[in-house]
């Protein structure tokens, strides 16, 4: 199973965690535990830093996309939040979007 957690902080084992470029700021701290980005990396999880607006993956890449406590399809003070159109694009046919611990959508 190939999975990504958009806005992830390592809370789901075995998946790629995506964060926006702001995570590279020395004043960035994770939401759940207040850890710096280097501390998160030291925990051994995989991270990808990229803007939410255009995820660097081909169409139909992932079996599962997770999102937890992230803004969807809106602009925040940091910039565009997670885009549902990108989630739909990068999911494989039959792939699942799990939002806030619940199955949100299965791609036809």
């Amino acid at each position: 199973m190939f999975a990504i957690n958009l806005g992830g902080e390592g809370e789901i084992p075995g998946v790629i965690n995506q964060q926006g470029p702001w995570a590279l700021s020395p004043r960035w701290f994770s939401s759940q535990q207040g850890l710096t980005f280097p501390q998160l990396l030291n925990a051994g999880d995989a991270y990808l830093i990229c803007p939410n607006i255009s995820l660097p993956f081909p169409d139909e890449t992932f079996d599962v996309v997770f999102t937890n406590s992230v803004p969807l399809d809106r602009i925040t003070s940091l910039g565009p939040g997670v885009q549902s159109s990108e989630i739909q694009r990068i999911l494989k046919s039959g792939g699942r979007w799990n939002k806030d611990g619940k199955l949100e959508w299965t791609k036809p």
């Binding site: 701290f29 939401s31 535990q33 611990g101 619940k102």
Partner: protein
């Protein structure tokens, strides 16, 4: 009272983004029915001798969980009756706008946004994980409770 965390729940017929927008619209009414006071960008800073301002995001399980624990704590302890003004964090379009409200808060990347005023002076401010810590310590809520990962109801 309906727990604030239910604002995370999916809404039949709405996309997740639309459900978050609907939750934003519901937040003011939920706040006004609670122990909290509603504050909107553009209003002046409250004149109370001591108060807390708390900017929350309706899409953050952490923030909604914090509100629920705060409601519970304030209901149990009347001596904690310090006004808490809640506002929609998403109404802050930039870090500069937030800095104008909470001078010195610096770069913020997570909600909640928290400021504590006493005798007209901003005596403490923090955001994200550290903002929850500030609220928890001030109101004597165990930090483990406010750092729980909250998911939508099934």
């Amino acid at each position: 009272m309906t727990p604030f965390r239910t604002l995370l729940n999916p809404v039949p017929g709405l996309t997740p983004g639309e459900a978050q927008e609907r939750a934003r619209q519901l937040l003011k009414g939920r706040i006004e029915l609670s122990v909290f006071r509603w504050w909107t960008r553009g209003q002046s800073i409250p004149a109370d001798r001591q108060f807390m301002m708390l900017g929350v995001a309706v899409w953050s399980g952490y923030d909604l969980n914090l509100l629920d624990h705060l409601v519970s704590k304030m209901a149990q302890n009347s001596h904690l009756e310090m006004p808490v003004y809640v506002f929609d964090a998403d109404c802050m379009a930039s870090n500069e706008e937030l800095e104008a409200l909470l001078p010195g808060i610096g770069f913020v990347n997570h909600t909640p946004y928290v400021g504590l005023w006493k005798n007209g002076e901003l005596i403490a401010k923090a955001s994200g994980f550290h903002g929850r810590q500030l609220v928890a310590r001030w109101f004597h809520i165990p930090e483990s409770l406010v750092n729980e990962r909250i998911v939508a109801a099934s």
